[in-house]
């Protein structure tokens, strides 16, 4: 099945499912899946296609939730405008984080971006004076308002379709517009052989900054939606649990190939809800899963089909 066909049938299936689900809890799980889809697709663009080892993805997500929330709580910006402005703010943050990465080798990019991730919670906790809400975070982020209608957290069906639309637009833009186009070619060239790409006229700085900015933009908007949907955001958004979950989505799903990370996001959001009762053990289970996923399916399930199940099986037997 071609990628386009897979995409449209997926969107159609979820659109129809939205009419049938009926169960609030299931809606909630799928809404989270749609939001996480945007996050991992943004990460896939940077890591899977450009080959930049950025671990600042949850920084963008958290910054989006905070920026959007702070704009509407502290400055009374209407919800849709706050979402857009929040996204733009995070895009600029992505550009800023991208700048030093231009001069760093891969492993140092990973260290630098992860350091930003580790530093952000304390900044948010210390930032009460600028309106971050300190360690309790932002309470009562105004809900989304479209066409004069307010969509509260409990309005699952509107949230379902809203986040489905946002995810569908992002996925389409990344895998069917950016990747096959000129940008995507430059990205893959830089990933496959940076030296060669540059010698063929690819402006490495320009394309890497574009990648950081685009990835941050979409992820920031996902964060904004997340905050508006839940109505709350705390520094815990940068905790180990969400980070491990996102890592797991990438490693189980597989980078640089539609619909790899999306499958990963689906498996993990659903799996996480199933494990909801396991409490503290869930974190441990997630960690073990990351390790197992990397060992058993080093390229993610998306690459199993072409290589057969041979690799995973060999590992199993060894």
């Amino acid at each position: 099945m071609s990628g386009q066909l897979q995409f449209w049938s997926g969107v159609a299936a979820f659109a129809v499912a939205g009419l049938l689900v009926g169960e609030s809890y299931l809606y909630h799980t799928l809404i989270l899946f749609f939001i996480w889809t945007i996050v991992v697709v943004g990460w896939d663009l940077l890591l899977g296609y450009v080959g930049i080892f950025s671990f600042a993805q949850l920084v963008f997500f958290a910054a989006g939730a905070y920026a959007t929330g702070m704009l509407s709580i502290n400055l009374d910006v209407p919800s849709v405008a706050a979402l857009v402005l929040g996204g733009v703010t995070v895009a600029l943050l992505g550009l800023l984080i991208g700048l030093p990465c231009l001069r760093l080798r891969g492993e140092y990019v990973a260290l630098f971006t992860f350091a930003v991730h580790l530093a952000l919670p304390s900044i948010l906790i210390q930032g009460r004076s600028v309106g971050t809400g300190g360690s309790t975070g932002l309470m009562g982020i105004p809900p989304m308002e479209v066409f004069g209608k307010t969509i509260h957290t409990i309005d699952k069906v509107p949230w379902y379709y809203l986040t489905l639309a946002a995810a569908a637009i992002t996925v389409y833009a990344v895998y069917f517009v950016i990747v096959p186009g000129r940008l995507g070619k430059a990205f893959v060239m830089l990933r496959d052989s940076e030296e060669f790409a540059k010698s063929l006229g690819v402006n490495d700085y320009k394309y890497k900054l574009i990648a950081f900015t685009l990835s941050a933009l979409m992820t920031g908007i996902a964060g904004g939606l997340y905050g508006q949907y839940l109505g709350v955001v705390t520094p815990k958004i940068l905790g180990n649990e969400l980070f491990l979950m996102a890592m797991l989505m990438l490693s189980i799903g597989g980078l640089g190939r539609f619909p790899g990370v999306i499958l990963g996001a689906f498996i993990i959001t659903v799996g996480n809800e199933i494990l909801r009762d396991a409490g503290q053990l869930r974190l441990l289970a997630l960690g073990v899963c990351v390790v197992l996923a990397i060992l058993l399916v080093p390229n993610g399930i998306i690459h199993l089909r072409e290589r057969g199940w041979g690799h995973a099986m060999r590992w199993w037997k060894a």
Binding site: V188, R191, D192, E195, F196, K198, S199, L200, G201, N203
Partner: protein, 231 residues
């Protein structure tokens, strides 16, 4: 001049290129040949000195700018875009190389000239060494350079492949009006291919002349060729 800390990798090395010539460069391992190409390709900035292309200074530009000025290069370790098809590898050279817009047919011409027509749809990561080198050459030429630096293009090839590659370079020089600088250890092949030959040693030029003269030069024989080379 190029300095790495205390090491002078290129020391007072200067030369002029003539339009449409093939200049061969030889020299012992570590002589600074790849360093010279990295400086000319923009991967390294010279510590001092100038590079002038058609009257304009281009030293210190970044690699993509060098490419847009008409300076092409290949790498000692063959590079390709492994996840792309052979055809795409060459098409992206034209796409980003900043050549004229009317160069639509250049990709097809190069694919044919470099013997890649039958492999157009294969993944570039899976092809043989000779094919990798052909892809790298065709991609660079698709950027429409005026001047191309090749770093050990013949290394690892067998006798027949060397012949094919050398014939191709001569032919492309004529048909595309190119100037080539070819770094190579295979001096016998290089002296057949080149109009002039330069030998460098410890970053210094020790000889630059026609191949016939260079291979008889006593200093060249001393430091590089040894006595077994009789031309």
């Amino acid at each position: 001049m190029k300095r790495f800390g205390a090491l002078l990798a290129l020391n007072d090395l200067s030369f002029q290129l003539r339009r449409s010539e093939i200049l061969g460069i030889a020299g012992p391992n570590g002589a600074g040949k790849s360093t010279l190409l990295n400086v000319c390709g923009g991967s390294l900035a010279p510590t001092s000195g100038e590079i002038i292309l058609e009257g304009e200074r281009v030293d210190g530009l970044s690699p993509y700018q060098m490419c847009h000025r008409g300076l092409g290069r290949t790498f000692q370790i063959p590079q390709v875009f492994a996840s792309m098809s052979v055809g795409e590898n060459i098409a992206v050279g034209r796409m980003f190389g900043g050549g004229e817009a009317d160069a639509t047919d250049i990709v097809r011409f190069l694919i044919d000239a470099c013997g890649l027509a039958g492999r157009r749809d294969e993944r570039a990561g899976k092809v043989s060494l000779m094919t990798r080198k052909m892809i790298m050459l065709a991609a660079v030429l698709a950027t429409r350079p005026k001047l191309v630096f090749l770093d050990e293009p013949l290394a690892g090839l067998n006798k027949d492949e060397i012949q094919v590659f050398m014939d191709l370079i001569s032919r492309l020089r004529d048909e595309m009006d190119l100037t080539f600088v070819v770094v190579e250890h295979k001096v016998r092949a290089l002296s057949l291919l080149s109009d002039r030959l330069m030998v460098i040693h410890f970053g210094r030029r020790i000889c630059l002349d026609t191949p016939e003269v260079v291979v008889k030069d006593s200093q060249v024989v001393d430091v590089y060729l040894g006595t077994e080379f009789d031309a």
